[in-house]
Amino acid sequence: MSDIQTTNQSILVVGGGMSGITAALEAAEAGYDVVLVEKNPYLGGRVAQLHQYFPKLCPPNCGLEINFKRMRINPKIRFFTMAEVEKISGEEGDYDVGIKISPRYVNEKCTCCGKCTEVCEVELGNPFNFGMDKIKAAYLPHEFAFPMRYVMDPSIAGTEEGKKCHDACEYGAIDLDMSETHFDLKVGAIVWAAGWEPYDASKVEYYGFGEYKNVITNVMLERLASFNGPTEGKILRPSDGKTVKTVAFIQCAGSRDENHLPYCSGICCLASMKQATYIREQYPDCDVSIFFIDIRALDRLEDFYTKVQEDEKITFIKSKIANITEDEETGALMLEGENTNTGEQIRMNFDLVVLATGMVPNKINTAPSPNVSCDEYGFLTYDPEKAGIYGAGCVRRPTDVASSVQDATAAALKAIQSIARR
């Protein structure tokens, strides 16, 4: 791995989500050498976890697949999974960066035969499904993973269990001696596209997330609805596995709130409306209520809002819910709020509550941090005085895929200019 050669004409892209992949492809297709580092064992970022894309309601894997294909045929891009940037020093046109690669314990000989998973008896909470189900400690991160290669969890690598998996592999693909590796690169510009984390919903303690089983988050719902998710696409109540007749969405759960994220996360209104439509498709009798402060659906996305409003089983209620209480026997949830259109106090019961949690940007995490500018919330901003490192996608503002892709294209151009200026 450390045989990789780069120069100050190369570009480093950090993060292999839609933004990072786009920035890497755009720069590579313009003729520049690109190194992409991704901390997960697969590329695709958060988009790989979505069930459908708004507003077209198509499966996200198809868009990802097109990009992976572009990557496979382009020799100018080299990418590393399970990789992170440890240090960044230097200046525009001349950076030294340190990369750390965590051991995967599975090499390129893996054919995805699945034997290692079969014999492995140790289970872990599945991070791809937010811990809603279990995976074996030797596993494929998900069905459409790119690169399509198994991973072994470090917790079993040095144990008997690890050896058992090793012995089961007929292709010599499991290498228990792998260890963490480090190498340095020279690059001329850096695109930071490390994306976002869902806001920790348990911090909004009056919604009882983590305590009430049937209070879930919007990102969890994407997994529940996905065919390769923990319930094979059936949206079921976590407490008892029953189907749902009433579902509530609580908008701005932690966003637009001075006690949590003061900013609007931009996409969660659209995400909830998208989710409401696929719940209604799965359960034609289900009643969905969306509790909101205001609905934010900008530009042409407003058409989607208009369309969702036409469904008479989806009700929009103007109220920020202030409290949830659980009926311990039935698992039903009582929501309290004030309907701010009518002034009435709301007390309604639901089978399932979805918190529309917002996005927290993944900031540059090297120590010491390079000279970049951020806004008061930690989103990267563009400052011509500090050229050389550019944000792309959700590290710059909470937004949808289409805008992330545009932003990443702009970042690729800026990175190319940084090199051209030298």
Binding site: Y206, N259, I293, K320, A322, T325, D327, Q345, I346
Partner: protein, 194 residues
């Protein structure tokens, strides 16, 4: 109704202590639904703030809600705009009193009972509090009043909002009383500022 009249809002922003804080209110309703006294209040804090913007002077300054606020802080810690709801409510109450809007007797009564109960057991027992509140006017009035509210009581009970047995004293009741005594003394000296 005539056209939009911003004069009362202006009066509040300029003259009421913390009155200009309500400019930041985004009308989300969290305060209303968090307030333990929302059932007793004629207008929730959110409604008060919007009535101010709508120019409803009599309705706001004559509202018992501004007198009822017990400074429990529930709304204030949850308000997404960090509006000091308590200070605004108290500012309005003071302003109303100064302008001869006499708080309704039962409001004052309710406040008194609320205080007494905290002093006795260190917490609020909704059943007991409402009983004491309704019977303050005498037995007959009390029964009438309670009957009027029995559906709410029953619903609260069904939703496990009211426990059937009386609440017990909290553990630190002695120290709480000491604090309350001190607060009472400070109030006697003309109000405490923390």
């Amino acid at each position: 109704m005539g056209s939009y009249d911003p004069s009362f809002a202006k009066e509040v922003f300029e003259n009421v202590d913390f009155g200009d804080e309500i400019k930041m209110c985004m009308q989300c309703g969290v305060c209303a639904a968090s307030c333990p006294l929302s059932l007793q209040m004629d207008h929730s804090p959110r409604q008060i703030f919007t009535l101010i913007r709508a120019g409803k002077r009599e309705e706001v300054l004559g509202s018992q809600a501004i007198m009822l606020c017990t400074s429990c802080y529930t709304c204030e810690v949850r308000c997404p705009r960090k509006i000091p709801v308590i200070d605004v409510m108290h500012g309005l109450a003071n302003y109303a009193l100064k302008h001869d809007f006499v708080p309704r007797k039962d409001t004052a009564n309710f406040g008194g009972k609320f205080w007494d109960q905290i002093y006795r057991i260190g917490r609020i027992d909704e059943k007991d509090l409402s009983r004491r509140y309704f019977f303050a006017e005498g037995i007959i009035e009390g029964i009438k009043g309670l009957l009027g509210f029995s559906d709410i009581g029953l619903r609260l009970f069904l939703h496990k909002r009211i426990k059937p047995l009386p609440e017990r004293k909290i553990k630190g009741i002695i120290s709480l009383r000491k604090m309350l005594d001190k607060a009472e003394k400070m109030r006697g000296r003309g109000g405490a500022s923390v």
